[in-house]
Symmetry: C2
């Protein structure tokens, strides 16, 4: 009985995901990597932009004294300033370095935010389909998540949101563009969510934070303009990373941005810095901070993802899959042709295509396809996708 009972329990609950993952590896070993089409991972095959390599070269050729030392737990001033200036430019809201805390990716950012906000038994409201780690993050800090189901088009069911918020609600967590659905929340959706939050704050006499997990913010299509949350509610916090927009997921670099108009923001920022330190992150990695300080207006080529989206969407609808056309991120979330998404995922696997069942995102009856992949992998999957739906047609 080596480890914590709770951790053991979580691992057992998640063992079907692990089993799927291991079966995928076995499949690749049996049939060869090139004959198995793995659309299950959100690990971009795209490389970081050229500017990233240029900045890395500059650092390696002109190292500065002290650049690898401890720094303030909030991060390097020059990086926080660059992030703030980027946000100011995009939103017109007067961000300064003082509103920014650099973090170890969005996963680190969300843990720091939740630890800072949660007292035991408090809740975050999340929206299905959701990134399954949210549940672990809230639990890490003595809280839990309450799930709001979606409308047909994966936008929040607002009546369900009204019911979900209660006296224990500390925050509402959105994720737009959404993993796994690719849906992007527009101004109307944000406005409606915040109206409900305000009503509920009054009803319960509480303070409810709106947290936006937005690592896919810059990966949006169809000339959409991203709707920032800051104008809709004063208690707003962004938790994000450069994992996707700069294709740096392994470097663990992201940030928390607190709305300059947030009440009590001094205490909130102090708390975030304290939790960044005491959770053991201490500070975001220094090298990555130096690099992204110069890359705030740089993004990977989003057109590549848009082209892949168009291609895959056309193919899938052509085959008869029912799905909402995603406007961001690099996932699609089709309906499973049969109710049991895990069974359908198994059928796809028999056809050498690996995807993740919707059950892994709190929304059974669907499955997630990732398309941040080489075209050859995407194209290779078509035959299996076709055969699997044909079986149930």
């Amino acid at each position: 009985m080596a480890i914590s009972n709770k951790v053991r329990g979580f691992m057992e609950q998640g063992s079907w995901i692990r089993k799927m993952f291991e079966e995928g590896i076995a499949l690749k070993q049996e049939y060869g990597e090139e004959n198995v089409f793995d659309l299950s991972l959100g690990n971009p095959v795209m490389e970081p932009p050229q500017r990233f390599y240029e900045e890395l070269k500059k650092i390696s050729e002109n190292p500065k004294n002290g650049m690898h030392r401890y720094m303030p737990n909030a991060g390097l001033f020059e990086t926080r300033k660059a992030v703030a200036e980027g946000l100011l430019q995009e939103t017109g809201i007067p961000f300064t370095a003082g509103n920014i805390i650099m973090t170890c990716g969005a996963g680190g950012a969300l843990n720091v935010v939740m630890k800072t906000l949660l007292d035991p038994g408090q809740e975050f409201v999340i929206f299905a389909p959701f990134f399954v780690e949210y549940n672990f993050y809230a639990d890490n800090h003595g809280g839990s998540c309450r799930v709001v189901p979606p409308d047909e088009n994966f936008l929040p069911n607002m009546e369900a949101l009204r019911t979900a918020i209660n006296a224990k609600t500390k925050g509402v967590l959105i994720n737009s563009p959404n993993n796994p659905s690719g849906v992007v929340y527009g101004a109307e959706t944000l406005s409606k969510i915040c109206e409900i939050i305000k009503d509920k704050e009054e009803e319960f006499g509480t303070e409810i934070y709106l947290i936006s997990d937005e690592p896919y913010r810059k990966i949006i299509f169809d000339d959409l303009k991203y709707s920032y949350i800051f104008g809709y509610h004063p208690r707003t916090i962004v938790a994000t990373s450069h994992s996707k927009d700069l294709a740096l997921p392994g470097e663990r670099i992201g940030y928390v941005a607190v709305n300059p108009y947030c009440p009590d923001s001094e205490e909130l920022l102090d708390g975030l810095v304290f939790c960044n330190r005491t959770l053991g992150f201490v500070n975001a990695p220094a090298l990555a901070q130096y690099l992204v300080a110069h890359l705030q207006t740089t993004t990977i080529d989003v057109g590549v993802y848009e082209r892949k989206r168009n291609y895959l969407f056309k193919k899938l609808t052509g085959m008869g899959y029912s799905l909402v056309k995603p406007q961001g991120a690099f996932y699609m979330f089709p309906k499973s042709p049969i109710d049991d998404d895990i069974q359908f995922t198994e059928e796809l696997k028999r056809n050498k295509v690996l995807v993740v069942p919707g059950s892994g995102f709190g929304l059974p009856g669907h499955f997630r396809i990732s398309y941040c992949l080489d075209d050859s992998t995407i194209e290779g999957s078509f035959s299996g996708l076709e055969k699997a739906i044909a079986k149930y047609r």
Copy 2:
């Protein structure tokens, strides 16, 4: 009432440390940086070894495809293999990559270890003087720390250790070379600690882990050979970083090493990987992992620290300070000439010397001097150190 009550409480408890820190900044602003001698921080002024810069240059000149992507949560195989080979060479114990998990520094490593092991209400035994963050780390994961006082020479009081271990004890956490005392545990001390652990495991029918927090392992003097814990107890885990031995504290790169002879080690390693992921670390930063893979036999020039230790020790004893001669790390922990270490620290501050009172390490009546600093800072502090002790002589 923005933030968690618990976090607010912790921040208020620690507010005297913050107050000291802020007063130090104010002092520097008033008298000029060069006239205030800050011996309070463990932030090495030494730069990383030349080999580090060579490796960084190699990476920037020959970037590999995929090197900034997600990776297994345990870390890069080549880095884990290099760490394992280094440990095998030093200890003769058959480490493999499978025993190693790369982490965001030792702070990340300790949080991952504690989360993996602790069930609510369980305890870690720690030894005063100790790194004050241990209390926060244990609390993060529903546990707490029980403190064993030292003998005269800052080695554990073994009778107190016997009393401290109880049915709720999940682990015993040591830190050698010690921050703040610089004391290094020899074979005899480790052997005695593990004998007591074994007795207590039998008495309570429990399993007790010995965790060694050893970021200063390679910074030892007087031709000492480091005593590794692995031979003394099967359930042993090392949590460490390259913050000090490669002078990379800002890069957040460290690892957990599990004794290959540890029972249930497969479940333990699975648990550690799961917690590394779900605490939001996901993986240690990729760039730093590539770099340290080639630096496992490289260390900053330890002779520099040994020379500083010799110089400072001679000076302090000459002034009449009573202290144990440290054999590692880069701190000294003299007795305060008066019982009230906070008052004495204030007196030093009036003389433009900043140090940390022993109360910040769970051992009042002492104060910590850091000497990982320029000689000019160390030498500049002598006059203030002399005046302060003279006042109470």
